[in-house]
């Protein structure tokens, strides 16, 4: 219970900073907003804003979807599209997904050329890392697959946002996500591509008690809220990276 008060106190403090936000996010999402900050611009997305038409391709594995009949509607790609549409009035936003569970980065790269040709996106959101960690794929091969995927997207004229694994406290002693998360951060820096730190955001939620990620629940409510927040924060992340001049993040960069 104490944790909730801490969160509440943080929200009161953080409140004024969000007063001007056009689409008010639920309080739970806002707690982690400061972690969803891009360090690199997204020029193709900026161009798409100007052309009033934004196509986004989400490529991912099982943690980019939710089970059940309304899973696709509530998973973060659909929530991203909704949040972008709410924020970007007058711009036609379309999010296409290629999401299949249990795929490694290398497997996704194979599907990438066809996906890119079919959708011609301005932005590729690439969620990966979990399956590679579970299968203990050679970290070198993982990094090389990331490089290949990013290069393929760039040469198809799309920006890339990397999205890392979920924070999953129960399985922490079984899946060595750390190495792969580090590799993604390193590749993102080298390629100058923004990294959406889903892992860090979810860990903060867990530490603050915003969402009980240890919960043994079988219900979908927490999962849906998490995906909703990820979609909303990702939308802010993309918009801020595409319009750096309107939301200066840091004087030095």
């Amino acid at each position: 219970m104490k944790r909730r008060f801490v969160v509440l106190a943080l929200l009161v403090l953080a409140g004024p900073a969000w007063a001007e936000n056009p689409a008010e996010h639920p309080a739970e999402c806002r707690v982690a907003a400061h972690l969803a900050v891009s360090s690199f611009p997204l020029p193709q997305v900026a161009r798409a804003f100007a052309a009033k038409k934004l196509d986004i391709l989400v490529v991912g594995a099982g943690s980019s979807q939710l089970p059940g009949s309304s899973g696709a509607k509530n998973a973060y790609p659909a929530r991203l599209q909704q949040a972008l549409a709410d924020n970007l009035r007058g711009i036609e936003v379309k999010v296409t997904t290629d999401v299949k569970s249990k795929r490694t980065a290398a497997e996704m790269v194979k599907a990438l050329p066809a996906d890119l040709t079919a959708t011609k996106p301005a932005l590729l959101v690439w969620q990966t890392g979990t399956t590679d960690a579970m299968l203990a794929v050679d970290p070198d091969q993982f990094s090389q697959a990331l490089d290949r995927g990013i290069n393929a997207a760039h040469s198809a004229g799309a920006d890339v946002v990397l999205l890392n694994a979920q924070y999953s406290p129960r399985t922490e002693s079984m899946i060595a996500l750390g190495t792969y998360a580090e590799d993604m951060r390193w590749v993102a820096l080298q390629q100058e591509v923004p990294l959406f730190d889903r892992f860090g955001i979810m860990r903060l939620w867990s530490d603050l008690g915003t969402f009980d990620l240890y919960s043994a629940t079988k219900k979908l409510d927490i999962a849906e809220q998490v995906h909703d927040c990820i979609g909303r924060l990702l939308a802010d992340f993309v918009i801020a990276a595409a319009k750096p001049e309107e939301q200066p993040m840091n004087g030095s960069r």
Binding site: K102, Q166, S173
Partner: protein, 386 residues
């Protein structure tokens, strides 16, 4: 053949004990206390210390056995030790399976459908358990013992060579290391990939430790104590420290010239990167310079907790792995606050020391033969564990 010192070097026990503590701290997922461990301040970590000292003590103990009782008897003892470690590994695996099975049965959150796939192997235990017994399937953080088993299983012929032609033995070990880099040799793992600790690479440190134990360190003494070498070692440690800081403070990264970054990254732990070996050697040189063999403090009470852990390294290591599982369990089930991290870390090390002290007391009691029946275990490992 240089004379081999007959008294056990307490520095080895001290630093192996400390390495075991660091490995325990590093093995608890997201443990805040692991900030103090050496992996955060340079290229190498506690694994190098552990493997080097294990090679040193193995040569010290079994080298004497091989001289006194011949190749066959000494080999049998080495293989018996490898077998004990294998049994310990399987025991830890059973505990791990229990933990996983518990999680699989009690946790079905739809948010983590993908992550729960890691438990799929419970559905076909016929394959997984066989792969685990073949040392191909190794759960997270359970890679050190399989490496140790393999290094020991392959040690008898190496020890034979080390006793006859130490230089040739060391050169052949280094050649194997170089060939491994050229041909990218490693052993396959299950379900994919290769061994996290490549035995073709890590054998070099083990053999180097053994070589030092069998007289090599006396030959090196002149070099180790030269001011130039010590100066170079300090400079290298400072360089590694500066690089390590850029991992935690990314804005410092701009001070690393691009050619330096291109030259050093990635620092490969699996294949025991040369930068890691050099970092370990630099640490060892500084340590030897600062801590003389006959330093009185080694027999004081301050260092006793670490020394006693180092003297019973297999038991302490296994206990450490178990305690890191238990520590993670406390984090997930009870509390994940900083204070809990500190308490769990201190409690874990205290338990390790307590159990090592208990084993130490029991072995002494057994050797005195005070029990009602004759001791089952002969003091076959004179000088402690290898």
């Amino acid at each position: 053949m240089a004379p081999v010192p007959t008294e056990r070097d307490l520095r080895l026990d001290l630093f192996r004990g400390l390495a075991l503590w660091l490995i325990f701290l590093d093995h608890i997922p997201s443990n805040a206390v692991s900030w103090i461990t050496i992996r955060n301040y340079g290229f190498s970590d506690a694994t190098e210390i552990f493997v080097f000292i294990s090679g040193y003590t193995a040569a010290f103990v079994y080298g004497r056995a091989m001289r006194q009782h011949g190749f066959i008897v000494a080999s049998a003892r080495v293989l018996k030790r490898a077998w004990q470690i294998y049994v310990a590994h399987v025991f830890l695996l059973a505990i791990y399976l229990a933990e996983i099975a518990y999680v699989a049965n009690s946790f079905d959150n739809p948010l983590y459908t993908e992550e729960m796939g890691v438990l799929d192997f419970l559905k076909n235990p016929d394959v997984t358990i066989f792969q685990a017994l073949l040392l191909k399937f190794k759960p997270v953080n359970m890679d050190v013992l399989p490496l140790y088993i393999l290094l020991l299983a392959w040690f008898p012929p190496m020890l034979w060579l080390l006793l006859r032609a130490p230089s040739i033995a060391l050169v052949s070990s280094a050649s194997l290391y170089v060939l491994m880099w050229f041909f990218e040799w490693n052993l396959p793992a299950y379900p994919s990939g290769t061994w996290v600790f490549n035995p073709f690479a890590w054998q070099l440190l083990f053999v180097f430790g053994a070589w030092c134990a069998l007289g090599g360190s006396q030959n090196l003494a002149r070099w180790i104590h030269s001011r130039t070498i010590i100066g170079l070692a300090i400079a290298y440690l400072a360089f590694a420290f500066a690089i390590a800081m850029t991992w935690y403070f990314p804005h410092l990264a701009v001070f690393v010239p691009k050619f330096v970054g291109d030259a050093i990254y990635p620092i490969d732990k699996t294949n025991l990167d040369v930068l890691r070996i050099m970092h370990f050697l630099a640490l060892a040189i500084i340590t030897v310079a600062l801590v003389p063999r006959d330093w009185p403090a080694l027999k004081s009470r301050i260092f006793w907790p670490a020394i006693v852990c180092g003297q019973h390294s297999l038991e302490t290591f296994c206990l450490g792995v178990f305690l890191s599982f238990a520590g993670h369990f406390v984090f997930t089930e009870v509390s994940n606050r900083l204070l809990t991290h500190v308490i769990v870390s201190i409690a874990g090390i205290t338990i390790m020391v307590g159990v090592a002290a208990l084993i130490s007391w029991y072995r002494q009691a057994e050797r005195k033969g005070g029990g009602p029946r004759p001791p089952a275990a002969r003091p076959g490992f004179a000088g402690g564990d290898a």
